[in-house]
């Protein structure tokens, strides 16, 4: 049995795919089209009742959801991918902090901006949610930027899965290109992540520039 990753173009499945490839794991690829709303079909809801991408089926048949949990779990499970320092490395605390910040704050902000209707029961209220989401995303990424000095990664020259996750989020920044000019650490992070040979082919294949 191998891993099976449910993904869609330009989605939070990306970091999981990076770890699997970097670890030399074969994985079965199931692409969902969000344009066709395939994530809300009954057979997918049976896998992920939230109707969100990604979902990962492990070799033993267990289902995992939540992009950050999947990325962190895989990077730990496959140390050969060299995307997380080992367990006795004290820097893992800081990495965990920004991993969770990425998932709980930045990712959520981004969903508010791109899918504002999910966040209000008032059909006239979407513009306000969108605007607040954009503002929060900018404010929250401004908190990450100082952590990327001297950079280009959180841990300097050593790329971890958290950098891959943050680069994905930064590439979705609704305030770009202005925000990139204000915080050059962000485009520098994206460029450094994309330049990693473990990442470059997947960035294209999983539609991260779409």
């Amino acid at each position: 049995m191998t891993y099976r990753l449910y993904w869609s173009r330009g989605s939070g499945a990306f970091p999981a795919a990076v770890v699997l490839d970097a670890a030399g794991q074969r994985w079965e690829s199931v692409e969902l089209s969000l344009a066709k709303d395939e994530q809300h079909r009954a057979e997918y809801l049976a896998i992920n009742p939230m109707g969100q991408v990604p979902a990962l089926v492990l070799p033993d048949g267990q289902v995992m959801t939540e992009s950050a949990a999947i990325a962190w779990y895989l990077a730990d499970r496959h140390p050969e991918a060299r995307l997380l320092p080992p367990r006795d490395d004290a820097r893992r605390a800081t990495l965990l902090r920004w991993q969770v910040f990425g998932a709980a704050a930045l990712y959520e902000d981004e969903v508010r901006y791109y899918y504002p209707d999910r966040y209000t029961a008032d059909p006239a209220g979407t513009a306000g949610v969108k605007e607040a989401g954009k503002a929060a995303f900018g404010r929250h990424f401004a908190m990450v930027a100082p952590q990327l000095k001297p950079g280009p990664f959180l841990m300097g020259r050593e790329m971890t899965i958290v950098d891959v996750y943050l680069a994905m989020l930064a590439s979705w920044h609704p305030g770009r290109p202005q925000a990139y000019e204000e915080h050059p650490e962000l485009p520098r992070l994206i460029a450094a992540v994309k330049a990693d040979p473990r990442v470059a082919p997947l960035w294209q294949r999983l539609g991260m520039d779409d």
Partner: protein
């Protein structure tokens, strides 16, 4: 050196406090009264730019924010306390999945319910945000309860085995507007809370954090 936890009653600070207590650690508590704006001072913002409670200072001086990150780190740091299934344990993927689900979905949805004005730029937008959050909160709890229901054994999240998931979900449940209604709908959640609060390390903290207020 010891841990310093910036905390306030009824906040996510309960989650790291519960793990420190389970690991039999002493820590220094610093109360941050958000009603008096003590989280908005420049001094506190230097530690926690989000101006949120909790913040945890590790013995080596690292500053942590994000209660879930603290839970994961403390579980790793105090490995011998077995607060999370170890790497390679078959329960670990589900433990990480549902902790993350709790932080990203339930915790965030509670913030939308409590502070709906933060989620809209329109002066009249808060009510729509609150209604959507109330709908989502119930749906997300249903998803958790469905998953728990597929695992017949209890009372804890991972069955008979107590873990960091239990105080985390008990805390999230205590924040529900009507936790008793939620428990009536999903008795399995009530059993989890009861068994968790009965633990000697948790009982006094649960009261100190006033999580028993609506239960």
């Amino acid at each position: 050196m010891t841990f310093t936890l910036y905390w306030r009653k009824r906040t996510g600070a309960f989650a790291p406090a519960a793990l420190l207590a389970e690991a039999r650690q002493r820590w220094t508590g610093v109360y941050v009264d958000t009603e008096k704006g003590e989280n908005l001072t420049a001094e506190y913002r230097r530690l926690n730019p989000m101006a949120r409670v909790p913040t945890l200072i590790l013995p080596d001086g690292q500053v942590m924010t994000e209660s879930l990150a603290m839970v994961l780190h403390l579980s790793e740091f105090f490995e011998e306390a077995e607060l999370l299934p170890a790497l390679g344990d078959k329960d670990r993927p589900q433990a990480l999945r549902w902790l993350s689900f709790g932080a990203v979905n339930l915790y965030e949805t509670d913030l939308r319910l409590t502070y709906p004005d933060r989620y809209t730029a329109e002066a009249t937008g808060a009510e729509g945000v609150r209604q959507a959050a109330r709908r989502d909160f119930d749906r997300q709890w249903d998803i958790v309860a469905d998953w728990l229901g597929q695992r017949a054994d209890g009372p804890f999240f991972l069955g008979r085995r107590y873990s960091a998931l239990d105080p985390y979900f008990a805390m999230l449940l205590s924040w529900h507007e009507k936790p008793k209604d939620l428990i009536a709908r999903h008795p399995r959640l009530g059993a989890l809370v009861d068994a968790t609060v009965a633990r000697p390390a948790i009982t006094p903290l649960w009261r100190e954090y006033e999580l028993d207020r609506d239960l």
